[in-house]
Symmetry: C2
Subunit: 498 residues, 2 copies
């Protein structure tokens, strides 16, 4: 019934076109308008699903989560939320789509990846690309000047994803952000601590947190002779160093972004450097760099940040890396990114963030800013890593929490089963039965073992007549007789010990 | 910076148009194509946000949830999930959008409310309208023949919502469904029990569950002389009886749907009836109706359902209501709907569902069906009711879970504060500090009282020198001296008792 046959509207369109060609010129405008209407109708028809077979799939770059995957995912999210709550975050939610204008001009080169909704009359909308811009819009709209919030929700990017590497077009982000006018680096260092605690909680073997500062990068660009108008686009190029070799990035700087070769080489010299606190000392000796106030300010900030990271016991995870640039336009201060190392699976960056002090102001009529810093965890990649690990170990997770299965040993006992069930439910016990009136006892008990249900109640006519039931401990197959009136109590006792 | 000025592209378009009018006919097709390109560019420009001011709002029919609302919402969802789990449901998730074809032909008159995504090259997509159709698609795609699952997620409808009544264009649904070939009414009765348990859990004062059966409705329509081709559209008309008086519905049947007046009157006679088990006995006496096998089958099913509902202790909540029709096309058996009564707030239907045995088959190449029955809770309306109630009582909810605030009584003690903080976090204690180095002590303590944080640690130079801190119980303002080495232990003790 889904495969209706379209009228061949093309022929109508072309007939109309020929008529148009024969008519006198003043009529052309009208005919063009008709043509456009017909074309729109035709497109509409096609979208309504005629003339092509129904393909049974999820949209490109998306996936369903089955119960096993959901159990894993909810476990991961719960751990992350516990870290966010340990740091005092409240949570908010925003709509999955925003007015298109809200997203425009925030993402630089990545804007082309935004999903637009169709104009069906009314507002022009687009799916959210991240949780940061909606957060900034929320702060400006509600005139909130300080908040510490987490937000876990799906975001959308029309990327060409390598789904094998855990990249999707629809994916969850877990964001923690601190907004407010505060003393330098106190919130920033806590964000790094939060990121580190979350990764630690997830037991992801070794990870490394790269940190850098946008002001320091700007200072470096200035010291190398990059004109200020090209700072952001050169920053974008540097950002590609985690995926491409320097030679390619250099080529982009020269050929696409019009930099002189000797300037590119100077930049290459800087961004190849990384280390710890000693790198700060090293850079302070660079007189050319120290003439740039942005660089001085960036280094001072980095020094304070690393000191706080040491107090917060995360310094051993940190690498001060001058090649870290972050793609998005809105960062203004410290930037950081966590990468997994080891574990055999290359998933690249799994968390990142930084300071964005001017984003809220872009939504305020008087440009009033609220300084913000935050971190975003890319949990899809974490799921992929954990799924692969579970698959390797051949482990299976329980996907429901049933405590008691109510079985019957003879035919036509479904009503007594139901009477027991409702008592269990009213006592808050998680319980189920077969939806077949006369399921075989063996099948019922097998269901219990396969699904790791701890207890089974087995009823038979003779026991019922005596006001008793059999209670079976599924794992040991041990069975005891229990009086109907003690049943709930007995179950509670056994569930505690099992 | 968001208010760029558009070039007046209109003038380009019209100039081009005039050129076109002057050219010879063979060139017209080419010029039309250019015109279309320019038009597309212009549209693109407008969508990219130029020439109109940024309006700071969420899209029509949507809303942000602030931390207080989120706390309430998460509490409600947790209760609902606990009911679903008590009945053994696992959970799945599906993408927020589907191939448009998946949604086509499933929703009858409501299809016009589907949100389409823009065709940006690639697949034609639309936002999900409910969770039932994606569930059926999931079953067919993965060849699953039995599952009991819950799914809590947002769905999208381009309705003209009365947001004051808790109706939105983006809203959460909480669905519980049982799929599989089972014995009659066993899963159906459990769905009604689940709906009732969930509403009971939410403490929503009195509610009523209307039940009916699509076969019985079909039998009634046949007995009244409605031609079979009009069953679904007459069913749609009956569905409006909860909002419109009979006179209006009758008018729709006669004028829009072409029914004879005497047939409409006969229908009116039936659908005005409601009651309990006795209504079944009454209807069985109706010889004309009993000639319709669909009606006999519907009544038999209703009788069994009500018997099971009695065992499941929900019969006192149930009203057998012949006017209940449910709007969606896909129902094939029992249908039900819960309405709130009393509480002073008119929110209408807050949950509903029914049996849909043919939906999965629509996605299967060989039309293989998986019978399903389910219930969907409309939590937005429940949130509205609970929010109104909280507002009436002037109650405020805690929006974070901080247990300990680390304060300092003198200047420049932020580093010792941070050292204590990191110990607390590593011990799993939920703790925070001011992000200002030298916040006033009074302000810090006020923050604790306002946010109902149970404990505060206060550090001062002299205590630090002695290896001690002050621990303050915020509610009683009682303070004790604790040695730094016993701090965590002492806090755990106090948190247990407070």
């Amino acid at each position: 019934m889904l495969r209706l046959i379209c009228n061949n509207s093309f022929s109508i369109v072309w007939k109309c076109n020929r008529n148009m060609l024969m008519s006198t010129t003043p009529q052309i405008a009208e005919e063009v308008s008709k043509l456009l209407d017909l074309k729109a109708q035709l497109e509409n028809r096609e979208e309504n699903g005629c003339s092509h077979k129904l393909i049974l799939k999820t949209p490109k770059g998306t996936r369903d989560y089955n119960p096993e995957q959901m159990a894993l995912r909810l476990g991961v999210l719960e751990k992350i939320i516990s870290v966010f709550k340990r740091h005092g975050a409240e949570t908010i939610d925003t709509p999955v789509f925003e007015l298109k204008d809200v997203l425009t001009g925030k993402y630089g080169e990545d804007s082309k990846l935004i999903y637009d909704l169709k104009d069906q009359g009314g507002e022009i909308l687009a799916l959210r690309y991240d949780l940061t811009v909606p957060f900034a819009r929320y702060l400006a709209m509600n005139k909130i000047s300080s908040i510490k919030r987490y937000h876990i929700a799906k975001v959308y990017r029309r990327d060409n994803p390598a789904t094998t590497k855990g990249r999707y077009r629809e994916f969850y982000q877990c964001d923690f952000d601190i907004a407010g006018q505060y003393d330098p680096m106190l919130p920033d260092a806590e964000c790094i601590r939060v990121m580190s605690e979350a990764l630690q909680m997830l037991d992801l073997e070794s990870y490394l947190i790269k940190v850098n500062h946008r002001s320091l990068l700007d200072g470096i660009f200035a010291a190398c002779g990059v004109p200020q108008s090209k700072f952001r686009s050169i920053c974008s190029a540097v950002d590609k160093l985690d995926k491409s070799p320097w030679e390619e990035v250099k080529k982009e700087m020269i050929e696409e972004k019009g930099l002189d070769e000797h300037i590119a080489d100077k930049i290459g010299n800087y961004v190849s450097q990384s280390g710890g606190i000693e790198l700060i000392t090293e850079l302070r000796k660079d007189k050319e760099l120290m003439r740039q106030s942005a660089a001085v300010q960036g280094l001072d900030s980095m020094e304070l940040l690393l000191k706080y990271c040491s107090i917060y016991k995360v310094l051993d995870k940190i690498k001060f890396d001058l090649s870290l640039a972050r793609g998005l336009d809105y960062y203004t201060g410290v930037i950081y990114e966590a990468v997994l190392c080891g574990d055999g699976i290359d998933v690249g960056s799994i968390a990142g963030g930084g300071r964005y002090d001017n984003l809220v102001g872009m939504f305020d009529n008087k440009n009033k800013n609220v300084p913000c810093v935050g971190v975003s965890l890319g949990v899809e990649r974490i799921f992929s890593v954990l799924e692969a690990r579970l698959a390797n170990k051949g482990l299976k997770t329980r996907t429901n929490e049933i405590e008691v299965f109510v079985a019957s040993a003879q035919k036509n006992l479904h009503e007594p089963r139901m009477k027991i069930l409702v008592d269990l439910w009213e006592a808050g016990v998680k319980a189920e039965q077969s939806y077949k009136k006369n399921a075989k006892l063996l099948a019922q008990l097998q269901h219990c073992e396969e699904n790791k249900i701890p207890l089974a109640i087995i009823i038979g006519e003779s026991e019922l007549a005596k006001g008793e039931v059999t209670l079976r401990i599924v794992s040991s197959r041990e069975e005891i007789r229990v009086s109907r009136s003690n049943l709930i109590e007995e179950i509670r006792k056994l569930l505690k010990t099992s």
